[in-house]
Amino acid sequence: MVEYDPVLYSRILTGVTLGFHTIFATLGVGIPLLIALAEWIGIKRNDLHYHVLARRWTRGYIISVAVGVVTGTAISLQLSLLWPNFMEAAGHTIALPLFLETFAFFFEAIFLGIYLYTWDRFKSKYAHFLLLLPVFIGGGASAFFISTVNAFMNSPIGFNYENGILTNVNPIMAMFNPATPTKVTHVLASSYLTASFILAMIAAFSILRGRDHVYHKKALKLSMTVALAFAISTALIGDLSGKYLAQYQPEKLAAAEWHFETEKGATLIFAGSLDENNKVNRAIEIPYALSILAHGIPGAEVIGLEEFPVEDWPPLVVHYYFDWMVTIGMFLALVAFIYFCMQYRKKWNEFNKPLLSAIIVGGPLAMLAIEAGWFMAEQGRQPWIIRGVMRTAEAATTSNHVDTMLILFILLYLVLAISIVIVLKRVFKASPLEKELKKQGIE
C-alpha cells in the first residue's frame, strides 16, 4: 500500500487534466487560423471547395472546442482546489493575465457562437469571415495570457518576497517576465503547426484511401503550407528558448541535456541512458552543439547541474521529453519541406504513398511533441512551483481524498475521449463530402 501523499496525487491529477486539456487547447488555438484562411481563399478565388472546407473544419472544430472549454474550466477550478497556497500567491502577483484570459475567452466564445449560426445570414460573404477574426484573436490572446502565467512560474519577477510577505507588486512586470517572449511565441507557433498537421493528416488519409477529389488536395496544400511556415518558426523560437534557459534557468537546460559539469564547448547529448553514478551511456554526442544551443557560440560556457544542490535538481527524465519534442519537430519540418518541394516541381508527384504516410503519422506525432514539450516545461521546473519562491510541496492542498478525485477525473476524461471519437465519426458519416458539395451547388 502506498502511503497517501496529497502532493503526489495533486501533481498527477494536474498533469492528467493539463495533458488532456492541452490537446483541445492546442486545436482550439490553431484551427481557427486554418478555417479563416480557407474561408478567405474561398471568397477571394470564388472557389466553393474552400468554402466547404471551412464549413467542414468548423464542424469538427466546434466539438473539440466544447471539450476544450470544459476541461479549461476544470483546470482553472483545480488550480484552487489542489494548489490553494499557490493560487493565493498567484492571486497577489500574476492575477492580471489570468483575468485577461477570461476576457479573451469570453470574446472568443461570443463570436464563435455567432459565427456558427450565421453562415448564410449576411449579404456580404466577408461579414461572416470577419466574425472569425475575433475567434482567432481571442484564441491566440487566451494562449498568450495563460502562457505568461506559466512563464511567470518559471521566472518570477515583479514583486518582493521576504518572510512570507509580498510587497512592491508590479503586475505588468510579472506578466512580461524574461520567460514570456519565448514561451508565448513557442506555444502559439507550435499550436498552429500541430493544428495544421492534424488537418493535413485527415486530408492525406482521404487521398491515400483513394478519394482523389481535388477538394482533398486543396485541403492538403493549404494545411501543409501553414505547417511549413510554423515548423520553421517553431524551430527558430525553440532555439531562442534554449538561449533563454541557459541565461535564466540553467538547471532546467542542464537537466534536459544531462549536462553535469560546467564547461566550455559543451557537447549535446541525444538519447542514451544514465547509470547510478549519472554517467551517460549509449548516447549520440554532438560536439559543441549544446554551447551553440545555449549561447550561439561553439566555445561558450554552459552551466552544469553540479553548481546546484542535488535537492534542487529537476528530474533527469526530462531529457527524454526534450529529445522527443526536438526530434518530432525536426521530422515535421522535414516532411513539410519535402511536400513543398514535390508540390513545387510539377514533374514530381507529391501524393506518393510514403509522403502521405509520413504526413498521416505527423498528426499524432505533433500532438505528442506538444505533450512532451509541456512535460519538459513542467517537470523541468521542479522542485519549484514558482521557481525560487515556492516549492511544489508547499503549494499543494492538505486535503484527504485527492486520490479518489484523481480516479473520478481519469474516468471522466476517458469517457469524454471515447465520446468525442464516436461523435466526430458520426458527424462526418452523416454528411459525406459528396453530399455537402452537392448541397452547396457544386457538381
Binding site: 470544459v70 474550466t73 482546489l81 457562437g113 449560426y117 509580498l166 473520478l408 465520446s419
Partner: protein, 337 residues
C-alpha cells in the same frame, strides 16, 4: 467607495449575471428532458434549442469570470475555499464538464439520443445544488480550523436545515427563472403551443419559489443570527423583490407584457441577491475571512479594475450583437433565419 467594496460589488454583479443566464440554461436542460419523457418534446424543443445553441458557451464563461476575478481581488479565498471545497468543488467541476460536452455532442452530433438529454437535464439540477453549497459554507459553522489547517465538516453540512433549504431554493429558482424566460421566448417566437406549456411551468414553479425563499429566511435566522439581522436592516430590498415577484407572476398569469414580466423576474432576483450579499459583508467566509483581510495589493487591484473597465468596453458591444442576432431578433426567434 473602497477598492474592496468596488471589487466585491463587481464580482457580485457577475455572479448575479451567472445566476440568471445559468438558471435559464440549467432549467432549459431539465424541461428539455422532462418534455421528452412526457411526450411534449417536439412542441417545446424548438424554442429551447433556438435560444440555447448560440449562447451555451457564453454561460460557462460567466462562472469562470466570477471565479478568476474573485481569486484576483481576494487571493485568500483560494486558500480557505480551495482547501475545504476539494470534494464538492471537484464534483461540481465533473458535472460541468459532463454537461458542457454532452450538450455539444448532442447538439452538434447527428444522432439525438435520450440519454444525452438525460445527462443534460440531470446535471442542470445537480450543478446548482452543488454550487449553492459554497454560499452555504460562507455562512460559517461548517469549517474547522485547527493548527493552521482548514477542513470541511461534512456531517454538519449534510444534516443542516439551512444547507438543505439553500439547495431547495437553488433548484426551484432555476426552474422558475428558466420557465419565465422560455415563456417569454416562446411568446416572441409566436409558438402558442409551446407558450401554453411553458407558461404553465412558470406559474407552477412560482409558489414553490416564494415558499423556498421564506424557508431560507427562516433557516438563516437560526443558523447565523448576525447575518439575518443585517438582512432585516435591508428589508426594503426584500420587500421590493417580493413586489417584483408578484408583478411578474401577475403578468404571466394575464399573458400580458411578457418581456416586462421577465425583467421583473430579473429585478426580483437582483434585489434579493444584492440584499443577501450586502448583508453578508464584510465577510467572505464568516467569521474567518472578510473582504478587508483577504484583499489583494493595491497595484493589482488597480490593474484589475482597469482591465475590467476596458474588458467591458469590448464585451458589452459584443454581447449586444449576440443578443440582437439571436435573442432579440424576431426573425431568428421565429425560425426564419
Amino acid at each position: 467607495m473602497s477598492y474592496e467594496l468596488l471589487g466585491i460589488t463587481v464580482l457580485w454583479t457577475f455572479l448575479y449575471g451567472y445566476v440568471i443566464v445559468a438558471s435559464i440554461d440549467f432549467g432549459a436542460g431539465f424541461f428539455n428532458y422532462y418534455t421528452t419523457i412526457t411526450g411534449k418534446g417536439p412542441i417545446v424543443h424548438k424554442v429551447i434549442n433556438r435560444y440555447l445553441s448560440p449562447v451555451w458557451e457564453v454561460t460557462n464563461v460567466f462562472l469562470v469570470f466570477f471565479y478568476v476575478g474573485l481569486l484576483g481581488f481576494f487571493p485568500s479565498v483560494a486558500y480557505y475555499y480551495g482547501t475545504t471545497l476539494l470534494i464538492p468543488g471537484s464534483i461540481a467541476t465533473i458535472l460541468l464538464c459532463i454537461r458542457g460536452s454532452y450538450y455539444a455532442f448532442h447538439h452538434y452530433g447527428p444522432k439525438k439520443a435520450t440519454w444525452t438529454q438525460f445527462l443534460y437535464g440531470a446535471t442542470g439540477l445537480f450543478i446548482p445544488a452543488s454550487l449553492s453549497t459554497v454560499l452555504t459554507i460562507s455562512e460559517g459553522g461548517y469549517i474547522n480550523v485547527s493548527n493552521g489547517n482548514v477542513s470541511l465538516d461534512y456531517g454538519k453540512l449534510f444534516t443542516s436545515f439551512y444547507s438543505w433549504s439553500v439547495i431547495i431554493l437553488a433548484i426551484v429558482s432555476v426552474l422558475y427563472i428558466s420557465a419565465c424566460f422560455l415563456t417569454y421566448y416562446a411568446h416572441k417566437a409566436g409558438d402558442t403551443e409551446a407558450f401554453d406549456i411553458l407558461r404553465k411551468y412558470a406559474l407552477s414553479w412560482s409558489l414553490p419559489t416564494i415558499l423556498a425563499s421564506f424557508l431560507v429566511f427562516l433557516s438563516i435566522s437560526h443558523h447565523n443570527w448576525e447575518h439575518f439581522s443585517r438582512m432585516l436592516d435591508l428589508s426594503w430590498m426584500f420587500i421590493l423583490s417580493s413586489l417584483f415577484f408578484l408583478g411578474a407572476v401577475y403578468l404571466i398569469w394575464k399573458k400580458q407584457r411578457l418581456g416586462l414580466s421577465f425583467i421583473f423576474v430579473m429585478l426580483q432576483y437582483a434585489f434579493a441577491f444584492s440584499g443577501y450579499g450586502a448583508a453578508h459583508l464584510p465577510y467572505l467566509l464568516y467569521p474567518y475571512l472578510s473582504i478587508y483581510d483577504g484583499f489583494t495589493n493595491e497595484a493589482m487591484a488597480i490593474a484589475l479594475i482597469i482591465t475590467f473597465v476596458a474588458g467591458l468596453l469590448l464585451l458589452i458591444p459584443s454581447l449586444i450583437l449576440l443578443m440582437r442576432l439571436f435573442v432579440f431578433s424576431n426573425q431568428y426567434v421565429q425560425g426564419k433565419k
